[in-house]
Symmetry: C2
Subunit: 349 residues, 2 copies
């Protein structure tokens, strides 16, 4: 836990829900809530490149707080990117507008893989810690601040594939062709992620979320072999604040994640029904999610109805309302507000 | 059933597995088995445009038979494309190399949607029926010939989105904004698909597969509301040969599909374990799948092991070995052959 002298927290709903305490209503935040649907974000996006925004603590802080000012959700998440870790491991990451991330030197050979080394991650990514400390001060206790990292399997996907993909089969086939070299990369990524998240916590993060965005591309057996052990090790080694694991698409692993990962909460995508998730996870872990992001493009009346129905199905206890994936760029701000407000106004029947 | 006088079928393993009869080993075919991994396909691809290949019965026939000659699987599937139906409904489809399909006039307004009309589909797509009749003759009874169509939800995705997408959120938001207009399009697509598949059967198709490739983008509730009713209606109205429904990603709907769709078989993607699928579907329906296509990039020894393990888990009865999605373009032919041969040489322990 951080040694800084931060302002006292005024809204602890999110942290109480993570601990499984009684709450008057579920807390709410949105993945990618600091993002392109916000006009104030777009202004900064026109002025500064992606990595300028990520690497300048003042900009990252401003962007993190924009949705807090605009929509008043119950948590902030630091504005950053999961590809900071591959960068710190020597991968050259370019962000191409309209295309997404492209690596200049992806892992193509076993030698490339074995040369990946996790060293001095907190030092190399000090700008993220600076942004967290600054943002925690600037938030002035309004809501807790979430730190995050990409999970090793998801980072491996980008580092080998060299760009975004629907199927990441270059990355998958690398696993099968070079299992030892792949295991080395996973180990380094796991170590890097542990020191990165612990440094974020030292810097002031009050919870952390681990994003395994491409977990669902793996078969259950491959997920168990390649992705899950990393999640478990990270969860066991990151100390002091609650961890949320969001492994998208792995409905089949919910039970194992709930009972074995040691996470405080599991993030759910929208293809998992609340009933299925509660049944598999046994009620002793907080669930977070899972509004279909494209439903925010429905008329406001329907957003309100669907949001209430979602809360009703999850229940108000051990539940954090969120989307099932990041908010889409073309969602009207009013629609995002309708989602947040419906949760904030929710009264148990 | 067709009135043509076709040659007698020599290998009926696939049809027997669809009926649930005893088989000496599971039959095998591969989704996209007529495709880019085959050098003989690439030769024709350099000479003829995509739509020349699809619309010229002699070319479609030659391409369909290429993998039968090369790998000797237990079924052929007619070379065509699911977007023939949107084309017949007046959507201009271009196939852009390296990008995929692009619609010149996607559905953008309610008026666009209401103007979709399913008329004379078999006449407009006569070249597909001609290709089927020709191929059935040319196959000379070696293996059965499968016809296919895209499911209405998946076709709707392309018709509204206007191109491929990871999330198809333009198409999804159209559903929520214009439910009546969307329902009209789904109805027309359902009618078009029914007359299209029945015409394929008249022309000689001995089984048909319905591809709902983007079903998994929907929440369970949306799938039940928008996609499933179309699948059920098509299944109930297509007569004379067994139907396989491949709704990718809808692990949550397997039970309903097994008990209510009337399909002879369900296709499975690789994220569904054989045990889960058997449990949910109750053993009275044939299952098809579900080798992870990227596993064909593993070393041959591993392909053989993983393939045997897959059969062992599904069992040899009521099972058709296949991939969990289409074969990838860069799979070596030897690897595809290792998959097919392992199944053909499988002996029950």
């Amino acid at each position: 836990m951080s040694n800084h002298n931060f302002p006292a927290l005024k809204n602890d709903l999110f942290l109480r829900a993570l601990k499984g305490e009684e709450v008057e209503r579920p807390p709410v935040w949105m993945m990618r809530q600091a993002g392109r649907y916000l006009p104030q974000y777009m202004e900064l996006r026109h002025k500064y490149s992606f990595f300028e925004r990520v690497e300048t603590p003042e900009l990252a802080c401003e962007i993190t707080i924009q949705p807090i000012d605009e929509l008043e959700p119950d948590a902030a998440i630091i504005f950053s990117d999961i590809l900071t870790v591959p960068q710190a491991l020597g991968i050259d990451v370019q962000m191409i507008p309209g295309k997404g991330p492209v690596m200049g030197n992806p892992i193509q050979t076993e030698d490339d893989a074995f040369s990946v080394l996790a060293e001095n991650i907190p030092e190399k990514l000090h700008y993220v810690m600076d942004a967290i400390t600054l943002t925690r001060r600037e938030l002035n206790g309004r809501v807790p601040l979430i730190g995050f990292a990409g999970a090793p399997w998801t980072l491996f996907c980008y580092m080998v594939e060299g760009e975004g993909s629907k199927t990441f089969d270059k990355a998958k086939s690398f696993l099968y062709q070079y299992p030892e070299a792949s295991r080395h990369v996973m180990r380094e990524l796991t170590n890097a992620t542990i020191s990165y998240l612990n440094a974020q916590i030292d810097a002031g993060a009050q919870a952390v979320q681990l994003f395994d965005s491409w977990a669902g591309l793996l078969s259950p057996e491959d997920f168990n072999e390649w992705a899950l052990p990393c999640l478990m090790e990270i969860s066991a080694s990151v100390k002091g604040v609650p961890m949320i694991i969001f492994a998208k698409g792995v409905w089949y692993a919910l039970e194992r994640l709930a009972y074995k990962s040691g996470a405080a909460a599991l993030g759910l995508d929208w293809t998992i029904s609340p009933e299925f998730a509660r049944e598999k996870t046994g009620g002793n872990i907080t669930l977070q999610g899972n509004f279909d992001p494209s439903h925010l493009l429905a008329p406001i009346k329907e957003i309100e109805q669907k949001t209430r129905r979602m809360i009703h199905r999850f229940g108000t206890r051990r539940y954090i309302a969120n989307l099932g994936h990041g908010i889409l760029p073309h969602v009207p701000v009013d629609h995002a507000r309708a989602f947040v407000d419906t949760i904030k106004n929710y009264k148990q029947e």
